[in-house]
Amino acid sequence: MHELSITESILSITLEKAEQAKATRVSKINLVIGELSGVVDECVDFYFNFISKDTIAAGAVLSIQHPPTQFRCRKCNTIYSPNGQNWTCPNCQEQNSEIVSGRDLYIESIEVE
């Protein structure tokens, strides 16, 4: 359900930037949404089509990149991807890591005419 507020923010940032650039149409929005953010693409698409009607972003394609979750071991600094419930560092076998990727939630760019 947080997809609605997220999609509203996507639309409002997009319209603001497009208007500043005096664009007449937004054709594509490039988004970066990390695996961990729990945002479902289909929901964002659904809400976007609905709330962008009657704006210059109507019909814009949403292109979404999903950076995978990555951890950094606090002991040996190895960067690795967790594997299900196995979060131990593949190098030193410690389970003491911070999330370094997968939390992203931003608009990379928009394509306008």
Partner: protein, 221 residues
Amino acid sequence: MAIKVLTIQEDILGANDEKAKENGVFLDKKGILMVNIMSSPGAGKTSLLLKTVENLKSKTRIGVIEGDVASTIDAEKVSEQEVPVLQINTAGGCHLDANMIEQALKNMPLDDIDLLLIENVGNLICPAEFALGEQRKAMLLSLPEGDDKPYKYPLMFTEADVVLVNKIDLAPLLEFDMDSFMKAVKGLNSKVRIFQISCKTGKGMDEWYSWLEGELKSYRG
């Protein structure tokens, strides 16, 4: 017409984060410690609040903001304790956001409050993403939910300053692996404090109260 690419690189939740920062600065000026309490539905947030208010209200001036999708049941229970309480209904929304808190703060007797407890909407996903301007985040997990939750909802556990493991009185009936749970949470969040509690029996609650009082003391310098 030619297509132009505009680089944006802007956080989608940037507006909420900005508002949350403003709320935080405002509360700092007032000297109010705001604690955002988050959990799944049914983990015991309301019970935790009621017990906490009951135990601390003679020593600390407490206010409560109740977030729910609908109803005022929780606010009514809290108001029986005769502390200021405000109910926010999100009308279907799965989390509180910084704007809702800004409005709520305008409607609370802030000069009579030192500790402001927020009961967020029951949900382990969205509340972790939406900052409110709180100075501390408390996360409540109840034993029946299982020890695998940190693996499923890592963000929530990464963000928390304190994790309360509630319904510890049910331990003999359940197969909750506390060691594995602790290892997962502490691995993610090395600074987190974890208390095992039972709102029902009162076990471990003193540790939580002391933690809150300690945080309030250090916050107010």
